[in-house]
Symmetry: C2
Subunit: 338 residues, 2 copies
Amino acid sequence: MKARRQLPTQTDVAEAAGVSTATVSRVINNQGAITPSARQRVQEAIERLNYVPHAGARALAMQRTHTLGAIIPTLNNAIFAEGINAFERTAQSLGYTLLLSVSQQDLQHELALVIKMIERGVDGLLLVGNMHEEAVFDRLEQAEVSHVCTWAYDPAARAANIGFDNAQSMHAVVDHLVTLGHHNVGMLAGQVQHNDRARDRVVGVRSRLNHHGLSLSEANIIELEYAIEPSRVALRQLLNRGVTAVVCGNDVIAYGALLEAQTLGRRVPEDLSITGFDDLSLSAQLNPALTSVQVNAVAMGKAAARQLTDAVEGRADMASVQMPTQLVVRQTTGPCKR
Amino acid sequence: MKARRQLPTQTDVAEAAGVSTATVSRVINNQGAITPSARQRVQEAIERLNYVPHAGARALAMQRTHTLGAIIPTLNNAIFAEGINAFERTAQSLGYTLLLSVSQQDLQHELALVIKMIERGVDGLLLVGNMHEEAVFDRLEQAEVSHVCTWAYDPAARAANIGFDNAQSMHAVVDHLVTLGHHNVGMLAGQVQHNDRARDRVVGVRSRLNHHGLSLSEANIIELEYAIEPSRVALRQLLNRGVTAVVCGNDVIAYGALLEAQTLGRRVPEDLSITGFDDLSLSAQLNPALTSVQVNAVAMGKAAARQLTDAVEGRADMASVQMPTQLVVRQTTGPCKR
DNA sequence: TGACGCGATGTATGCGCATACATTGCATTG
DNA sequence: CAATGCAATGTATGCGCATACATCGCGTCA
């Protein structure tokens, strides 16, 4: 499939337009002064031949690819998909194309993907979270590729962050539940092992409970994957331990908890309070509507794309920005009746 | 950000290893015969210098990028996200990187994106549906870029298809409802304008109803965007028209219908039957669990990646494959009581 | 032992483009 | 009218790599 072989090249356009390749290059890149007539002849030739510049050759000559990379844990998570969707749209509108890879939560694999991204010469790279192999940063710095870690905010992070403080975001949740009188709360957490976001959310819940003189016993924390079925199972365990409120690490886990509670005939929120995290659009529609922490994935995606391109084009250096989160109280949380 | 400038090049590696660049290239590409000792020296040099080949230069020299493109309507749709996730994973495992763009259902924009993909020299391209500008195919053929249209199956399509027959997939749904005694059925369809999948699903419902001697009046079809809130509104309209069953163009619309029905105090399925399409993982968990049409997005993504790479590497030509869909009957459909 | 073949490696070239530098032509100025 | 300057364009080069072709060295066989 020697696709390129017969595709028209800049030289073909130059001949067809009766100019030199330099002139063709100039009209394409809008550089230098060009006679209107020459410009027009070139543009017509381009159109007529369906000429398309060769990005690889361009990258070689310019040392720029106009490509942005993103490596995310998975697309099977609506909130990441939403963020990437915004990232792509913004990048596209700024003249950049998206190179996307999924790491499947595997840090070693992520490192390999980062190297691939460097190979492809991405001008900037988006990563998720602050938990990465050190070599990731070493390589990116060596290659001078601008990069940003999203979905987290930590002033001490090695790279610039565009995201929110996962631990602190849980404070409002805990405060809310405590105010409602809950003192035996459980947590259905995402898997913490290679996931600083999930870990920090647990940390946030625990520390804030402590702040209120309460505690989160180890047995009241259950770690599970991003899926409904395991969440249902886990909820039953927590109920056996007599919790009156369940803080979930994300909305999908919360859906599982809510559905299982209903299946078991528990009233929500009268018998059990449940909170989510992410505030997916479905959450507001459920019955009862889910109390959740709203994070602005779209804003993060946009900001990341804008910052990266600003950095690439020399307009500004990468800088961390902390995004707000907001507890949205709906119908799955209520006063503790016990 | 002249990132590349100071990055080690093949020449640096050659020097460090005491060989020529040709030898370096050979060990990298595993070509020709290389003395074990030479190979090792090269590999050590690569490691030591953190050498990374320049994909652009490679593309120039080889007329291949080892990149696969995908242009999808949006990522804010779990089923596409799932399919793309599988596509990426498969492509990655075959040595290809994913270039992803979202068209936002805009065919003109899609054409522009296709041209960008050709610029980037993608070796293969995945598209969604069969509704595209003719120029899309003209360009892809001219550039000899292998491509495939997914999420649809039409033997008459201009490009190879890997997907299912959207119209025919609705037959089982209609048959099911008719068997249950429904004769006044409504449809909440996705937007049909620039979307052959949504359109075909409407066509399938209508033609199959006709087949049973029933009909789907214009007024019983409501077109709406992919979201819950508009679906709730639309459901009320259909209820006013006395429908006993509602066929939805996708699961998200079905969620809206189900939730609204519950809000209005209608019993599902006793008072109203509802069906979805896509069978998202949440659908089986709802209460009542949603009757839906299962499509295998993961299989489509995998198959597309495999076929494209097979074509690129000359192992096989692109060929259409029809994927099955399956009606999964759950609890939102029941006998018509009227 | 000399011719030959083959494995291992090096040399040189071109992929398509951007761009520094050279060149040309023309208007402007004294 | 000659000198000057600048706008418009062309020419030549290199970006980093793969690879065709040339070369070298060594074992093999007659």
